[in-house]
């Protein structure tokens, strides 16, 4: 999963501080990110998208490929960008509801 410059792990008690702020950034910009990138895996570091792909591994490889040469090791977060389906738990199919004004 890790590459020479993309580090997705850390020792106990040494969680990179950007993990929390970058997560909030993604949540607060989810709509714009979805419009720009569509449904995909996304890597974000210091409030910048550094890689995208159809899987975590693809996003990591994309980031490694596209990082400027002068950038050293980074600790991005991974999120799945996806449209929310608020009624995901409803059963598929059709049903009729009586019109309460015509009972």
């Amino acid at each position: 999963m890790d590459t020479p410059r993309i580090r997705m792990s850390h020792p106990y008690g040494q969680t990179p501080p950007n993990i929390f702020s970058d997560h909030d950034w993604v949540r607060h910009h989810e709509k714009e990110l979805l419009e720009k990138y569509g449904e995909c895996s996304i890597l974000v570091y210091n409030e910048q998208v550094v890689g995208t792909g159809d899987s975590l591994q693809a996003a990591i490889e994309d980031a490694e490929r596209n990082l400027p040469p002068e950038v050293g090791e980074i600790t991005p977060i991974h999120e799945w960008l996806g449209y929310r389906h608020p009624f995901l738990r409803a059963l598929p199919g059709h049903f009729e509801v009586p019109d309460p004004n015509h009972e």
């Binding site: 850390h10 993990i19 929390f20 997560h23 949540r27 975590l56 409803a90 598929p92």
Partner: protein, 136 residues
């Protein structure tokens, strides 16, 4: 008692908690998991099985028939992973073992088995805050 702050969001509403899951290389992989009070067992994307340290349960791979209200079947692999929860203040739980299902999922879902069943859940949507309290 350990108090772990949740990340709480509106529109769409969601409460999440950071989990650090032990990897095969001894490090930890951090991901925000959705607190899912509709899930008995926590769910992990199967792609993470490549890097996480786990042991299979006796049940191992099986089909979950008519899962949830959607009544759709999916494959799951039952395993045990070691993890701890953490928040942005630096609070963290002890590391503990959790029974999880690896499945074709996009997100980490935090269910009751071994996690929520240990904790008191506070969710304050008007103030967009919340936390999990783990008795000490």
């Amino acid at each position: 008692m350990t108090r772990i702050q949740l990340r709480v969001y509106r529109n769409p509403g969601q409460a999440e908690v950071f989990v650090n899951i032990k990897r095969k290389d001894g490090g930890y992989y951090t991901q925000a998991g959705i607190v899912d009070t509709g899930a008995q067992t926590s769910l992990l994307p199967q792609a993470l099985a490549d890097v996480l340290a786990y042991r299979l349960s006796e049940r191992a791979s099986f089909m979950v028939e008519q899962a949830g209200i959607a009544q759709q079947a999916f494959q799951a692999v039952e395993a045990y992973v070691s993890l701890f929860l953490e928040d942005q203040t630096g609070a963290r739980t002890e590391e503990f073992e959790v029974r999880v299902w690896f499945a074709r999922a996009r997100s980490v879902l935090i269910g009751f088995d071994d996690i929520l069943e240990r904790a008191v859940l506070h969710l304050d949507m008007p103030n967009v805050t919340g936390h999990l309290e783990f008795p000490g």
